[in-house]
């Protein structure tokens, strides 16, 4: 019987297999940032251990960094970033600190350097590591104990998750994006729908996505509970990688591409679960609640808790409406927002900024609007293309690279009661700042919303 893509990549990385034990899996790339690593390095020091493969490890500063120029004002954040610098120096790990041309959100810089390649295993102490699966590898988030384990051994003991295919047939209609697709998928299968699975996104609509779009889809796999999300590599993948600093070159490139072409699910392979979705029926999606599964097409209204048959979903909806300050029956298009955030590891890449700029060109924003490039390189490229002038002319703020308003950990936050349209990945209570209310949207919907001050699709302008 044939094998799925996930099975092929997994098998390629098994260092040791024994009855009744998890597989010992080799890790090809370990990404590190300041938040989830300090206690892991402390653990190494306590045990007198070294980093086994500093040459397969790379660090950046992203979660705590301010997105305006200048030093970190918060002494606790500053200490955390300084701790990463000390640890990177002590253990010989390449670090891209604030201000460095290579700095950026950890999941933006890996692909940008060409370090993220098909068929690899990639981990990071961050749940959105699933982003890297867009290149056809297995990439997943881990906790600090596992960060320490990978630092010490370059391996992880793990059981292979089950496999799920999400088959996306048809074409995405104009104005409907990768973000809308993944929000629709999460709304369909729920925040627990992917638990215990590696998801492979397949089908015509997925093949048509750019690498940026594929990364957006894989990024939010974790929001459906999945361990990882992946997409088989193809010419789009190879074209994105070719010429990047860490991509193979010359003869090695040809060898690599030949191997990468074998990284596809065999026609006779069987997935443990299959979910089907028709892309051609989708429209822009937004979330109305406090988990990413609580999403609907923008044309609909805030649902009534009574419309949920399952008592758990009903009480979650009641609670969400209360927290979000929303009434059942209100059209989603009438919800007013104070803040728009374009950025994050979900939607902070150049294509995202281009699509937001296209909508803001010649228009004025009515809300506080933060445009935050995912990396310094994305920032430079956007400036070369003049996108920053478009944003500034529209009245938006053009910022430095970082995680920014995705997670309420650096100075970019919502105040209690403030409401955002955000291109990030989580609408949890307080995620963007205590008491803040988040609606997840695509960059296009974010930009259109900034123009009207209400949740708006570009087509409504």
């Amino acid at each position: 019987m044939g094998r799925t893509l996930a099975e092929k990549v997994w098998e390629q990385h098994v260092v040791r297999r024994a009855d009744g034990e998890p597989d010992l899996l080799y890790i090809d790339l370990h990404l590190i940032h300041e938040v989830t690593s300090p206690q892991a390095f402390d653990g190494l020091r306590l045990a007198g251990r070294k980093v086994r493969r500093p040459d397969l490890t790379i660090a950046t500063e992203d979660h705590n960094v301010p997105t305006v120029l200048g030093p970190i004002a918060d002494p606790v954040s500053k200490k955390q970033v300084e701790t990463l610098r000390k640890n990177a120096a002590e253990f010989g790990i390449r670090l891209h600190p604030m201000g460095d041309a290579g700095q950026g959100v950890v999941h933006i810089i890996g692909p940008q350097f060409g370090l993220t390649q098909p068929g690899m295993t990639i981990v990071c102490g961050d749940s959105h590591t699933s982003t890297h699966g867009a290149f056809g590898g297995i990439a997943f988030g881990i906790g600090t104990s596992e960060v320490e384990h990978v630092l010490a051994t370059q391996t992880l003991p793990a059981y292979r998750p089950k496999t799920m295919a999400i088959e996306v047939s048809g074409e995405l209609p104009p104005g409907v994006t990768a973000k809308d697709l993944i929000l629709a998928i999460i709304a369909k299968i729920g925040t627990g729908g992917g638990q215990g699975y590696i998801v492979e996104y397949r089908g015509e609509a997925v093949r048509e996505l750019s690498m940026e779009g594929r990364m957006t889809v894989c990024n939010m796999s974790i929001e459906a509970g999945a361990r990882a999300g992946m997409i088989a590599p193809d010419e789009t993948t190879f074209a994105y990688l070719k010429g990047r600093p860490h991509a193979p070159q010359g003869e090695a490139w040809d060898q690599a591409v030949e191997y990468w072409k074998s990284l596809r699910t065999d026609d006779d392979a069987v997935f443990d679960k299959v979910v089907e979705i028709d892309a051609s029926t989708l429209t822009p999606y937004v979330t109305w609640g406090t988990n990413p599964g609580q999403g609907l097409p923008l044309a609909e209204s805030v649902p009534s808790p009574d419309s949920f048959a399952d008592p758990v979903a009903r009480s979650a909806a009641e609670r969400a409406l209360d927290y979000m300050g929303l009434n059942a029956g209100t059209p989603l298009r009438e919800i007013e927002v104070d803040t728009v955030f374009v950025g994050s590891c979900t939607n902070g890449r150049i294509e995202d900024l281009r699509s937001a700029a296209e909508i803001l060109r010649g228009r004025q924003v009515r809300t506080r609007t933060l445009i935050v490039p995912g990396s310094m390189q994305v920032k430079l490229q956007a400036e070369e293309e003049g996108l920053h002038e478009v944003f500034k002319a529209a009245g938006a703020e053009w910022r430095e690279a970082g995680c920014s308003m995705c997670l309420g950990m650096n100075p970019d936050t919502l105040k209690p009661g403030e409401r955002s349209a955000s291109t990030s990945n989580r609408n949890f209570e307080g995620r963007q700042g205590k008491g803040g209310r988040t609606h997840l949207v695509s960059p296009q919907v974010a930009a259109a919303t900034a123009v009207t001050g209400r949740l708006t699709a570009p087509a409504d302008l």
Binding site: Y26, P54, G430
Partner: protein, 195 residues
């Protein structure tokens, strides 16, 4: 890691679903570089509400948290596990857990117990009826017991053994350092390094 064989204690019923790790420990608490001091951050935003169940003196001293489904979803922050442990919990019971949270828990010796949804809800009701109800979570027998109820739960043999012995994963893996070295010699030549 402290070994876990069996634990008897009282419980707190948390009647919420999708308890993401941002709720368990908000991001502002993640700026610490130590592994201790997270107990005050546990459910920090929810605890501001006097009606929140952890503020109910009836449940003081509880060491088992019984939650609605999808506990520990979202962020990979292991700080969520540290906060629960440092507050005094040794077990979390729910119908479903976020995968990363569940993994992190077993690395630290906090036992995540998956009970079928109606059984977790039954246990919540039993605790609400009698907050001093003694509950035994027996990892050796893979059972949760309270009053006349005996409910079996599943956990793989390896993780169970590791928890019962209190073993550190890194130490176990380092026994296979030779296998790792052999594997490394056979890696594909084009794979990137960060150098």
């Amino acid at each position: 890691m402290e070994a876990f064989i069996t634990h008897t204690g009282t419980a707190v019923p948390l009647r919420r679903s999708n308890v993401d790790t941002d709720q368990i420990i908000p991001a502002v608490w993640l700026k610490q570089v130590s592994r201790t001091g997270f107990e005050n951050g546990l459910f920090a935003a929810w605890r501001e509400d006097p009606e929140f169940v952890l503020n109910d003196a009836t449940y003081e001293g509880a060491s088992i948290l019984v939650s609605g489904p999808d506990f520990g979803t979202g962020s990979s922050r292991e700080h969520a596990v540290w906060a629960l442990q440092q507050y005094g919990f040794r077990v979390v019971i729910a119908a479903r857990f976020g995968d990363i949270f569940r993994n992190n828990s077993t690395k630290m010796g906090l036992l995540p117990v998956v009970l079928p949804g109606d059984k977790a809800a039954d246990l919540q009701s039993a605790v609400e009826a009698n907050p001093k109800l003694e509950i035994t979570v027996d990892l050796r027998e893979r059972q949760v017991r309270w009053a006349d109820e005996v409910v079996a739960f599943e956990i793989d043999d390896y993780t169970r053994w590791r928890l019962m012995e209190g073993l550190d994963d890194i130490g176990l893996t380092l026994r296979h350092a030779d296998d790792v070295a052999v594997y490394e010699n056979g890696r594909q030549p084009w794979l990137p390094t960060t150098v």
